[in-house]
């Protein structure tokens, strides 16, 4: 984390309703460059809804999301034109889906999956695209000889790695991750967590990781936000929240898992 003067992301009073049900009820937080924030809570706590509103994948019913761009200062993400927002989403942002199928093009090769963002940004040199794709496959510890295979032939863990490479190829500064390791075998999960940890540290990535798994938060996140019924019940340094939880709900959450 560098000593910046303002946060890279500022989330203020996000509200999201589904009909009469309030899914997210006035959530605010800040994220600084290079900082990894975990949003934890049970399913139905509103954490994924919050993530989608922050990542501008859904429009909130209230509140504001401000992002510090590289060149144009702070922008109100939901007030941007769709074109700007989509450009942001495929350059300075990344989004890692829980289900890799949603984040990948399953019928095109691994190389093209990684290269797509480059091509979208106007790269028109096949050789360079391919080299860049190969180097990212290496960085996410994938077998480079599989560069021409489609994700349909990959295991769950490899698909998730590919999804990560596809997102990081443009060197984003902020990555959203929705349960990035759930649904994988425990050993595969551990290796992927390692990779995510070294990537976020190594690239100084800011990240918001939605997870129900406290061990994931412990390993990846500097800070934690605990959500229940659409509200933040506790926030703080990850080890603080896990080792000295204050809110009854957080205490319950922490005590109901084995040594996070």
């Amino acid at each position: 984390m560098s000593e910046d003067t303002q946060p890279i992301l500022r989330v203020e009073g996000i509200v999201k309703h589904y009909g009469s049900r309030v899914a997210v009820d006035g959530v605010s937080f800040e994220l600084w460059a290079g900082e990894v924030l975990a949003i934890v809570g049970e399913s139905g706590s509103g954490k994924t809804t919050l993530l989608n509103a922050v990542a501008a994948r859904a429009r909130p019913d209230g509140g504001r999301v401000s992002f510090l761009t590289r060149h144009e200062g702070v922008v109100d993400v939901h007030a941007m034109s769709e074109a700007q927002r989509r450009l942001l989403a495929r350059t300075d942002w990344g989004y890692v889906h829980q289900d890799a199928v949603q984040g990948l093009r399953m019928n095109v090769s691994a190389g093209a999956n990684v290269g797509e963002r480059l091509m979208a940004l106007g790269e028109r040199h096949y050789g360079r695209i391919r080299n860049e794709a190969a180097s990212w496959l290496e960085r996410v510890e994938m077998d480079v000889t599989r560069i021409d295979d489609t994700p349909a032939t990959f295991s769950g863990g490899m698909r998730q790695r590919l999804q990560i490479a596809r997102n990081l190829v443009t060197r984003p500064r902020l990555v959203f991750m929705d349960e990035p390791t759930s649904g994988l075998d425990v050993s595969v999960q551990a290796k992927l967590l390692d990779l995510l940890r070294s990537l976020t540290r190594g690239l100084s990535l800011a990240a918001i990781v939605v997870t129900h798994d406290l061990a994931v938060a412990r390993l990846l996140a500097h800070r934690m936000v605990v959500m229940k019924d659409g509200r933040v019940v506790e926030t703080g340094l990850t080890d603080q929240v896990l080792d000295d939880p204050q809110h009854p709900y957080t205490q319950l959450l922490v005590s109901s898992v084995l040594q996070p």
Binding site: E82, A83, V108, A112, E116, M119, G127, R130, I147
Partner: protein
Amino acid sequence: MNVSDLPAPVERDANFNFAYLDERTKRMIRRAILKAVSIPGYQVPFGSREMPLPYGWGTGGIQVTASIIGPSDVLKVIDQGADDTVNAVNIRRFFQRTTAVEVTTRTTDATIIQTRHRIPETPLAAGQVLVYQVPLPEPLQKLEPREVETRSMHGLAEYGLMHVKLYEDIARFGHIATTYDYPVMVDGRYLMAPSPIPKFDNPKMHMCPALQLFGAGREKRIYAVPPWTKVESLAFDDHPFEVQRWSQPCAMCGDTGSFLDEVITDDAGGRMFVCSDTDHCLARRTADE
């Protein structure tokens, strides 16, 4: 085949409106065409009608032709470059019966040319209209099945995905293996499917003096390339766009620069390569005589 082989001009069947479609429908389609001409390469939705031919037989092209044809037009219809194939013959007959316009096989004589899968070898001239029959108007569809998403991509000119397809070709075959319906950028703005013409014909679309109209009946889309519009075939810097070449000339007219079809001549594996554009081939042969 030459003009004299065509059936003699027929009377228009008075049971049908001129060119089959009612005037309101034609007007609706003409509006779509005007919009398409105004926004080169943009797919304009239109209220595609039931035609007396099944989808896939050129209903989009027929509706476009029906909307622009007038009694003084001269119509040529080709399918794969030939005037005498089933689809071409049927469509030509349809318009003869419903309009009684003059028909021709000569590219130079036609005011409207409806085509499936080719652009004539003879350069088109100002004032001519080339009407394409289009099965799949959306070039991104195979890569991105969600129409809402492809529309956004067009709206925002996000066309990286199309290069993904070309990347895949090179990764798999070592070169861009797409040989027909090869995607183009129209006027530097809209990505467009040129219909399943061979990529050999792509350069002919660029700065063409004739108006090019595209009709997709089943998909209910019309798009256009106005005369003198830039049409650029996509490529990579290190894998530039190239057209097909043949090692031998046309076996019938000796042309070395036209698109050739392989024709099997006997049961013993005998074959020859001849011009796919029959009018072009005939014109060269008669000029030699």
